[in-house]
């Protein structure tokens, strides 16, 4: 069974990546924060007594379910809004997160780089971020779980509720799509 410290360390280690995963899916920072908080609370409340080794897979599963729940609620809400109003939904929230502005606040890590280099690097990172966000949902989930969350094929398959073969296919397609998209934009990793 995971100790308090193990659970705390696990959540601390995974929270920012989980937030970005949620942002990629729902494209709203506030909603993504709510989703991550819900997922953390569900994990602690319902699976707090599980061994530390099982936490990554369980957390990913909860996170994916919470994201799905969010989309279901949004769908119902949008149905009611479209029934009672002719106005389209405000999209302002999508533009709140400006990754370039946060890079300008970065200190120390890139002190040796010139401003032009820093700008170019920030732009590259932003483009990679955008291309990951554009991936089809299942490909993105598989890719992020495998290569960002360090989960193996079996754990990813269990968290996604699909076969290991499907995980490999999703990962391969995601990698090729990303490579092609970045190459088209002149980015070489």
């Amino acid at each position: 069974m995971a100790t308090d410290k193990e659970l705390s360390d696990f959540l601390e280690n995974v929270e920012r990546r989980a937030f970005k995963q949620a942002v990629y899916a729902v494209r709203k920072d506030e909603s993504a924060l709510d989703i991550v908080q819900d997922a953390m609370i569900k994990l602690a409340e319902k699976y707090g007594d599980k061994p530390a080794a099982e936490l990554p897979m369980l957390f990913q599963r909860i996170l994916q379910t919470t994201i799905l729940d969010y989309f279901r609620r949004e769908k119902v809400r949008n149905t009611w809004i479209s029934l009672f109003s002719g106005f389209s939904r405000q999209e302002g929230d999508d533009e709140e997160f400006d990754i370039l502005s946060s890079y300008e606040a970065e200190e120390g890590t890139a002190a040796a780089e010139s401003s032009a280099d820093q700008f170019e690097r920030a732009q590259t990172l932003r483009l990679i971020d955008e291309e990951v966000e554009k991936l089809p949902a299942r490909q993105r989930e598989a890719f992020l779980m495998r290569y960002w969350q360090d989960m193996d094929v079996a754990e990813t398959a269990q968290a996604m509720g699909c076969s290991e073969g499907s995980v490999k296919t999703h990962c391969s397609r995601a990698t090729h799509t990303l490579a092609a998209a970045l190459k088209a934009k002149g980015i070489k990793l």
Partner: protein, 131 residues
């Protein structure tokens, strides 16, 4: 996936990790608060919960203190006496029911052998049909 693909995937991972370091302070603060809220609502540890005492601990009869022994012995005695009483009552009811049947058969005008006669049974059925 070949080695080049895997290398590419890990380079993307590196870029994504760099992006993580650039998250705004408000976001990281909110995530830390969410983590604290989650830890506060953690499922309690099974080991830390006090051991649940069974309602009726049979072992206490031989090992526990005098009061605990009485607490076990008295309900057990009451149970044995109660079961004995129920058994006696059932036996008496059974004997009384048999006596009633015997009395009814002996008091009947019809001889016992009549019930063993197939012709008599047929006669009784035909009488019932006519009625």
């Amino acid at each position: 996936m070949n080695t080049d693909d895997i290398n590419f995937a890990y380079k993307v991972r590196h870029a994504l990790n760099e992006n993580l370091d650039a998250l705004p302070a408000s976001t990281t603060d909110r995530l830390a608060a969410a983590r604290a809220a989650a830890l506060a609502r953690r499922k309690p540890d099974a080991a830390s919960k006090p051991a649940k005492r069974p309602l009726f601990d049979f072992n206490a009869l031989f090992t526990g203190p005098a009061l605990a022994r009485l607490g076990v012995a008295i309900p057990m005695l009451a149970l044995v006496i109660g079961m004995g009483g129920v058994y006696q009552y059932e036996q008496q009811e059974h004997v009384a029911a048999l006596a009633d049947i015997d009395a009814a058969v002996l008091a009947d005008e019809l001889p016992l052998t009549a019930y063993l006669d197939h012709g008599f049974n047929a006669y009784v059925e035909s009488q019932q049909r006519q009625q």
